[in-house]
Every structure is written in C-alpha cells, then in structure tokens.
C-alpha cells in the first residue's frame, strides 16, 4: 500500500473515537436504507399472502362465461391458471337457524379448490359432481346432523326477490316480510350428492349470509354449450397493463362483465386508483430522499473534519512531492475504508434489525389482531443491491468536496497552521447588545459560533436536517393515520343488528348478551329540510353551481337523518362532546345535536374530502319535513311539515354506529323520547342496535341462538381489524425510523461539536489562564450551544413547514382536508435540539475541563 494510504489509515486509527462515531453513523444509514427496502418488500409480501389465505388467489374475474369464452380465456397469453366456479342455493329443511335456511353451493373446478382458501376438517374435498364437502357450521350452528357418507337430494336454484324482481347473492340478507320469508328459489337443477368431507366455515362467507357453504365439484368437461359459469384467472405477470389486456380480451369475446381482485392487486402496486399510486410514490420518494440527505450531511461533515485535521500532514506530503491527485485520492481512500467496513455491517444489521422487529411484531400481531400469516423476512438481491448502490453513491457524494479541498492543501498553508482562514472583523461582529445583556462570556460564545462559517454551517445544516427529518416524518405519520381513517369510514362498533319490526324492549335484550361492553339502541328516520343558501358549506355551493342542482326559493333541499339514541347512550354522548343532556329533553321545541363535520369520497374525482355539513350556529332553527312516499321522479315532491327543531349543539364527533353523510346531507341526534314525540310514520323508522364486544364472534353466535326473525346482523369486527392492523404497523415503522434517523443526526452533531471544541483547546486554556472562572467558562459554552440550537431551529422550522406543505399537497391527490401545524411535535423538537447540542458540548467540555491548563497550551492536536 502506498505511503499516503498508510498515513490515512494511521490517522483513522489514532482518532479512534471520531472514526468509530463516523462508522457508526454510516452503518445506521446503510442499515436504514436496507431496512426500508426490505420492509417494503416483506410487508407487501405479507399482505399478498394474507389476502390469498383469506380470499383465495385470483386476479381477474369474468362473470357468466360460456365454454367457448372459457376456451379463449384459457388460451390467452397472460393466463397462468384458470378457475371456474358456479353457485346456487338449496333449502336446508331442518335448519335451526331461521336466518340461515339455505345451503349455498359453491362449485369449483379442481384448480379452484387449490386456489381458494378451504380448510378441510374431516374427510376430503369432492372429486366429482356428485360429491360435496359441507361447512362445519351446518352441524354446529344449524344443528343439522349431517355426517360423512350421508346422501342428499337437493333442488338447487337462485334466490329471487319477489318484490323487486332481482337475484340475491350471498351478501344480501334473507328477505322477510311480516315474519314470513319474502323470497323464493328459482330451481335450476336437482341433484343427489354424497357428503365426503367437512370444512371450516370459509372466511369469505359473510356472517350474515343466509346460506351455509357447501363445496361442490365443477366438471369443466361436462359443461353444456350454453351453461354459464364464472371464470377466475390467475395471471402470469402482474403489472399495470393487465387492465387493458383483460378488457381487450373481454371485448374480443363478448364477455360482458370483468371484475378485478383489487384487494390483492393493490399489494402488487397495480391499482386502478391512480391517485393512490401517485400518493404512495411521492411519499416513498420523499422519505428515501430524506434518509439520503441526512446521511450525506453526516458523512460530509466527518470527512470535512478529517481533512482539516490532516491539513498539516497533507501539506507536508505536498512539500515532499505528492500530487493533487494523490492528495485527493487519499480522501476517497478514507471513504472506501469506512465504506468497506460500514456497508456490509450495515446491510447485515439492517436485515437483522428488521428480522428481529418482525419476530417481535408477529407475536403481537397474532395475539392482538388475529392475523394468520407471519411477516417473513423477504430478502431480494435487488433490494440489497439497491441499498448497496445508494450507500456507495452517498459516500461518494459526501467525500467529493472534501477530496477537492484536500487536493488543494499546499505545503505553506499546512506549515503555517492557519486554522481559521480569512477571519475578518465583519465575520465575528456581534452587537454591543449581546455583551450588555448576556455578558462577555456569551459574546465570546456567539463569536465562536460565527468564526468558522463553513464548519458552523455544516453543524447547523446537520441539525437542520434532523429537525426536518423528525418533523416531516411525524407529520407524514399523522397524515397517513388521518388519511386511513378518512378512507375507511370510522366504525366504532363490532356488531350492528337491524330490525324493522322488533319492539324496542326486544331490541334491548341484545344489549344484555355476554361479552357486550357497550351498546346503543338507535332509531333512525329519514327526513328532509330546506336550508338557506348562506348556511351551505363552500363545497356544496360549488357543486350546486357545477351540476346546476335545483334550488327552491333560495333554499337547498337537505337529506336529514334523524337519530334517536336510548337515553343512557345519549347522555354519554352529550357528555363526550361537552354538552348538558338535560337541555335536549325539553318539550316545546325539540333540540338536536347536529353533526357539522363530515368526510366522504367524492365519486367524481375519487378524492376523499373533509367538509362542513352546514354553516350554522347553536340556537338556529331548522324545519323538518317528511320525505314523500311514492314515485318522486315525475311529481313535484310534496313535502309535509313535521316539526321545527332548534340546534342545541354543533359537533364533529359522531356516536357509535352513525356514518357521516355526503354533501347535502345532515345528521341530527336526539334522545329516543324526542323521536317518539314527533309524529313520524312508524314504517319510516328503522331500529338498530350497535354492540361493542370483547368477543364479537361469540356474541354473534349468541345472537343467532336467539332465533329472532326479522333481525339482520352485521359483524364489522373483521373489517376494523384490518384497519387497525395497518395503523399499528405503520406506527411501529415510522417511530422506529425516527429513532434511527435521530441516531445518525446525533452522531453527526457529536462529531462536529467535539472536534470543534478539541481544536480550540488552546484557546480555552488561554481564557482560563487569563482568569476566566469555571462558571464563566460554562456560561460561554452554554451560550454557544444555545446559539447553535437557535440558528438551527431558525432555518429548520420554516423548511420543515415547507416540506409539510409539500407532503400535504402530494396527498391532496387523494385526500383533501385542511392543513394544520403539529405544535406538539415542534415543541418536542425544540427541546430535543437543545438537549442534544447541550450534551454534546458538555461531554466534550468535561473531557477538557479536567486537563491541566498548561498541558493544553503546549499541546497540539495531532
């Protein structure tokens, strides 16, 4: 190895502390980049596997296709495998569950059975069209004692809604009218089948569906020419062009309906909702950019310090005959040394760190959220290569400028030991004010901060980066949380029970079931109101203009949902929003709590929007009108006056079970008694019970056991799980990220400050020898750290705000709401910055303080 490189290595070894801190910082940076890439890949992989486990693997669905069309689909270049399915209902005579009187036949071809999540409990799956496997719920829930080997003769057909004349699917409730089932089966075929196995209740079967799943076999060869089945396609390649391709295929073969498994495709990054994709990419780009900038700041600083320390050596080398290139390369060499140590360790620790995090998360996830699949560490060579490449590039960029500087160090500069080049009065000028108010020590502290503009800038820069990183990332996190909440319609209950006929007391029985923690009984009436134009929110006024909607006499017809809560729930709700419930029990003019804030998805633009529902005040009156029955298309709507209500309170919080309306709608909450008072047609009132439960599945079984007719049960517990899962994972991810980024920044600041202080050892000794007391000395250092911190915040905060605006605008593609500053985070940042700077200084000072003045004066910084 040539002599210059030897000197470089020796220098690194001698400044062990600084070299180690730099290596530490680079390791963290590399680890983070690796972790980000790996996490992203692994997470998507988990989502894909989970989705496949839950709902089967398929990408495109062609509904009602003939054998000829099936042939075409099979031959298509993109088709990897083709699943066929058909379905039908048969009556389950002996069913003990009045809400589930059917057997739902789901027939798959062989491949289909492999691709859809079916868990065989006993026996096996059917191999021909005369065999079936039944859901164990038939035995456990319907209490029908079917066994393996039993033979059944069934009439299979489609469910037909007599009133509306439409076919019903597994997601439609059983239709009741006056305690009698109001639907019929249109029989397609009659079959005799033998039971060959039992399966667990499939996860795709909704809890409220009226039929128990039975798996049947679809023999594709036995399909008649005119028969129609559904075809599901598993694609070979999943990319953005699949939509066009499928649609072309459908058009070419006259297939009417094409559906996509958007849930699954989303995780491959191919969603139709382009806005969402753009949002994801912009956010990801910003985050990775930030990591790189933070790392560059650290590495640049470390090398700048190294070069200035080695100035004397470099100068001597120059005087002995080293060329510019050799000097420059010595810095690159130093970079290579640090890189070769840090990058492998960084990648390994990044993988290890993320792997350990997965292990930790998995236990938690499985226990709390019931996710069946594990997060697996997916290490793709491309992710590692990208991490490597980015790190090398980062190191190179960071060392470029110091390398150029090194090449220009001449012999004279080094020998003369001019540390602070080009100091001028202007540079260190401070106002008299500082000395008068803060004292001489503070003035010296301030001058210290100003003296070496470049190094000072570098330190401030890295502080600024830390500030920006922290604020941006935490704003991003909060943003995501909010966006998720907005897009997934906050559901606060586990189970919703709907009945159009049950008496209130019967409904109350449900609230007493085991495991139920919270319940609300709610009556809901749909009414109308005419609202003055000046009380409309801006978005509504715009829409009226754009769509030329009818305005009657300067008033716009609003769709009013009037909700009556049971008294206990109403009181709790009133307390929650800070209003006295008693004020709403008055007799003469009923008062209502009005929800004045809503978030909804505008279907035209695909955006999620937050808006006010009405611009009004407490005390204003609204006239409630009844919605006319019958055909409103032709006649002028004949509304009848019902009652005046007065706005008792305005709030943005909704009680359990209520969804916020779209523009042009408004929700009002009153106590039950009020609804009873108003003479609303009982037919127009629907009753709901909302339950929160510690064990929603058990509660549902309990409800079904009651065998109430005309009761429909929604179990939304599963839906909410997914949402919470997302948010939890995201929080772990982002807070881990923030912590690690902080380490990089702290390493950087520490390096800079401790070096800058050790370079000034002599001055400090001088000051002490002239008679600066220890207290005065401390004061000087404190002020210096305060000035550093203040300057960093002065730059950091405004830039962070700008970036936050940027993030806000980028998510504005999909989610639209007002911009607000996160004050708590800002305060936190201010405190932490001063803590960091202060401790770095204190640490460095403590090392110096105890040294002998004389030793310092004589010493040189080697």
């Amino acid at each position: 190895m040539n002599i210059i490189n030897k000197v470089t290595i020796r220098h690194l070894k001698e400044n062990k502390r600084r070299s180690l801190v730099t290596i530490f910082g680079v390791i963290i940076s590399v680890a983070m980049i690796t972790a980000v890439a790996t996490l992203g890949v692994s997470f998507l992989d988990l989502m894909i596997r989970q989705e496949i486990t839950d709902n089967g693997e398929w990408h495109v669905q062609y509904k009602n296709v003939t054998p000829a069309q099936i042939e075409a689909i099979a031959k298509d270049s993109e088709t990897k495998s083709r699943i066929l399915s058909s379905d039908g209902y048969a009556v389950l005579e002996e069913s003990n569950n009045n809400n589930k009187p059917y057997l739902y036949f789901k027939n798959y071809n062989k491949i289909g059975m492999e691709h859809f999540p079916i868990e065989v409990l006993e026996g096996r799956l059917p191999h021909n069209e005369n065999e079936i496997a039944i859901s164990e719920a038939i035995v456990s829930n319907a209490k029908v004692e079917y066994k393996i080997g039993d033979q059944l003769t069934v009439d299979i057909g489609d469910r037909w809604d007599k009133e509306n004349g439409t076919t019903l699917t597994q997601t439609d409730f059983l239709k009741w009218k006056d305690e009698v089932i109001n639907e019929e089966l249109k029989i397609k075929e009659t079959k005799t089948v033998k039971i060959v196995g039992t399966i667990a209740r499939p996860s795709w079967e909704p809890a409220w569906s009226p039929g128990y799943t039975v798996i049947g076999y679809l023999d594709e060869k036995a399909l008649s020419e005119k028969a129609t089945v559904d075809a599901f396609v598993v694609l070979k390649k999943i990319n953005g062009s699949l939509y066009d391709h499928s649609e072309k295929l459908a058009q070419a073969h006259k297939i009417e309906k094409v559906y996509y498994n958007t849930e699954l495709l989303r995780y491959y990054g191919v969603t139709r909702n382009d806005n969402l994709r753009m949002t994801l990419f912009s956010l990801a780009g910003i985050i990775i950019g930030i990591i790189i900038i933070g790392s560059v700041a650290l590495i640049y600083n470390a090398f700048a310090i190294s070069v200035s320390e080695r100035a004397r050596h470099l100068g001597m080398l120059s005087s002995v005959g080293a060329t510019k290139k050799q000097k420059r390369n010595s810095v690159f060499f130093e970079g290579a040394v640090i890189g070769s140590i840090s990058i492998p360790i960084g990648i390994l620790s990044g993988l290890a760190g993320i792997g350990i995090t997965f292990g930790f998360i998995n236990k938690y996830l499985q226990g709390a959220l019931g996710v069946s699949e594990n997060l697996e560490l997916v290490v793709t060579p491309s992710a590692i290569l990208i991490a490597c490449g980015i790190s090398i590039l980062t190191i190179f960029i960071s060392t470029y400028v110091p390398a150029q500087k090194a090449s220009r160090v001449s012999a004279i500069d080094a020998i003369r030991q001019i540390h602070d080049i080009k100091l001028s009065r202007k540079t260190v000028k401070t106002s008299r004010f500082v000395r008068k108010v803060f004292g001489l020590e503070a003035e010296i502290g301030l001058k210290n901060v100003k003296r070496n503009k470049k190094r000072y800038l570098a330190t401030v820069f890295s502080l600024v980066i830390s500030i920006i990183l922290f604020l941006s990332v935490s704003y991003f996190t909060d943003n995501l949380k909010k966006s998720l909440a907005m897009s997934q319609n906050d559901l606060q209950y586990d189970i919703q029970i709907y009945s159009s006929q049950l008496e209130r007391n019967d409904l109350a029985e449900f609230t007493k079931l085991d495991h139920v923690t919270k319940s609300t009984i709610m009556k809901e009436a749909q009414l109308e109101a005419l609202i003055e134009m000046d009380q409309l929110p801006a978005q509504l006024k715009t829409r009226i203009k754009e769509q030329d909607l009818t305005v009657e006499d300067g008033k716009f017809p609003y769709f009013v949902m009037l909700y009556g809560l049971d008294q206990e729930s109403f009181n709790a709700y009133a307390e929650q929003i800070g209003v006295d419930a008693k004020g709403f029990n008055q007799q003469d003019t009923p008062a209502a709590i009005v929800i004045d804030q809503t978030s909804y998805q505008d279907y035209a633009s695909g955006k999620f929007i937050e808006s006010k529902t009405i611009e009004s005040e407490v005390g204003n009156k609204i006239d409630l009108l009844t919605l006319p029955q019958g055909n409103t298309e032709n006649d002028q709507p004949k509304r009848e006056f019902l009652s005046t209500i007065v706005i008792g309170a305005l709030t943005d919080q909704v009680p359990m079970g209520i969804h916020t309306p779209s523009l042009g709608g408004i929700n009002m909450i009153v106590p039950e008694a009020t609804i009873d008072q108003l003479a609303i047609d009982p037919e127009a009132i629907s009753s709901f019970v909302y339950l929160s439960s510690t064990d929603p599945m058990a509660t549902q079984t309990a409800i079904e056991d009651r065998k109430e007719t005309s009761v429909e049960v929604y179990n939304v517990y599963q839906q909410r799980q997914k949402q919470e899962q997302m948010i939890l994972l995201m929080s772990i991810f982002t807070y881990g990220f923030i912590t690690l980024i902080s380490f990089i920044s702290v390493a950087n600041i520490f390096n800079t400050i401790s070096t800058s202080i050790s370079l000034r050892k002599r001055e400090f000794a001088m000051l002490r020898s002239v008679g600066m007391t220890p207290k005065g000395f401390n004061k000087m250092i404190q002020y210096e750290s305060i000035f550093y911190g203040a300057k960093a915040l002065l730059y950091g905060l405004p830039i962070s705000v700008l970036i936050m605006l940027g993030i806000h605008l980028s998510t504005n593609h999909t989610f639209e709401y007002e911009f607000s500053l996160p004050w708590m985070s800002i305060l936190f940042v201010i405190i932490v910055i001063f803590l960091i700077v202060g401790s770095a200084m204190l640490y460095s000072i403590t090392k110096i303080k105890n040294e002998n003045i004389i030793e310092s004066l004589k010493q040189e910084n080697i």
């Binding site: 602070d420 001489l440 002490r768 002239v770």
Partner: protein
C-alpha cells in the same frame, strides 16, 4: 516588602517509577518592582516554575504567596479571579483569542471581571505599545511583534502584582526582540511593575536586575547583578 514568596515548592510528574521531579524544594522571594530573570537549560524546570508562580498549575507541595495571599489555598474560582487581577502572563506563542479584536484582547482580564476599563489607562498602555492604529483589528491581521505587544498589553492592563513572561522573545526576530525587552524594562522602571522573565538566552538574562539559575529542578545560583 515581598510581593512574591516561594516556599519549598515542588512539582512531581507521573507516579512511582516514572516519576519526574520537575521542581525540587525551590524557595526564594521577590520584592515589588524587581526585574528577575530565571534562566536554565531545556528541561531544567523553569517553565514549570513560572506556571506555578502564575497559578495555572498545582504544585505537589510547597507554597506560593503573592502579595501575602497563599494562592494555592484558594479554590478554583477564587484563583481565577485572583489571576485576572493580580497576575499578568505573557507566552512565547502569544496565545491571543483570534476572534477578539486587539482592544478586546488587551482588556480581556477586566472584561471578565465585568469592570469598566479606564480609558486613560487603556490609552496609556496602547500608546506605549504603539498599537493605536490597530485597536479594531483581529490578531491574524498583525505581525508577530505586534501580537506579542498585544499580549503584553493584556498582561499589564489591570496593574497586576506580578508580571510573568515565558520566553517572550522566542518567536521574534532580533529587532522585535530588542523592542519587546525595552518595553518590558520600561514598564518595570516607570510603573514599578514586578517582572519575572523565563529564558534560556543569556543576553536577555543579562538585562535583568537579578538572575536565578535553575538546574534539574533546583535553584543553582541566585545573583543580583544590578542592585
């Protein structure tokens, strides 16, 4: 009256086998207004002695009394304050604060004391040192000789009890050296400023009133050459 009394002063560096006795039981006194030179070869302990006299190091044993005050009985803060007011230190390598102007460097001891600088006093010192034109300049804009003058100014400004100079001309050319020594002597004579100079240069030593020779940490000779 003895402005400085040194009693059995010893300084040992290191421990056990590697112990080095830099100063071994040194005792002497100096009267106010004296100009003393402490001479000795390299490694004789003279710098150590000066630093102990200046209160910037701690002795292993012994006492140093400046103007009747036992300086090593003071705590660190008291000592620092004492140094400000009563001791003026001049070094070979000037050791000015690079970010303070000439004026600020000179008045530094008083500024630290939060004392108001007497403009007349300042002007007098600056005049004598010939630094009138340079008051608002920074040290890096001055020549070596000028910088040394600034440190003399700083050492003098608060009329300290004793002024200690460690090889003050070591870094200067012969012309500047001569000028600096003249200045120091002038202050000593005119203002009765007690002056102790450390040097290895005999020519400098011969300009003093009294020469103390140090060898191997002990006082070898103590001569008064100008009574």
């Amino acid at each position: 009256m003895n402005i400085l009394e040194v009693k059995n002063l010893s300084k040992v560096y290191g421990k056990g086998e590697t112990a080095v006795k830099a100063l071994d039981d040194v005792s002497f006194s100096v009267k106010k207004g004296d100009f003393v030179c402490i001479i000795g070869p390299s490694g004789s302990g003279k710098s150590t002695l000066l630093h102990l006299l200046g209160g910037v190091d701690r002795p292993t044993s012994g006492k140093v009394l400046i103007d009747q005050t036992d300086i090593y009985n003071l705590n660190e803060t008291q000592l620092a304050i004492f140094r400000r007011r009563q001791i003026g230190l001049i070094y070979q390598f000037y050791n000015l604060i690079p970010i303070l102007t000439v004026e600020e460097n000179i008045t530094l001891p008083m500024l630290l004391d939060a004392q108001k600088v007497d403009p007349a006093q300042l002007n007098r010192v600056v005049d004598v040192l010939g630094l009138n034109e340079r008051l608002s300049h920074l040290p890096n804009q001055l020549s070596g000789g000028q910088q040394q003058r600034v440190s003399i100014g700083r050492a003098l400004i608060s009329n300290p009890a004793i002024m200690l100079a460690d090889e003050p001309t070591g870094n200067l050319d012969s012309q500047n050296s001569k000028e600096i020594m003249e200045l120091l002597k002038m202050f000593n004579k005119t203002y009765n400023q007690t002056l102790i100079v450390i040097t290895h240069d005999e020519r400098i030593a011969l300009q003093a009133d009294r020469i103390i020779s140090i060898e191997d940490g002990k006082v070898a000779k103590d001569e008064v050459i100008r009574p």
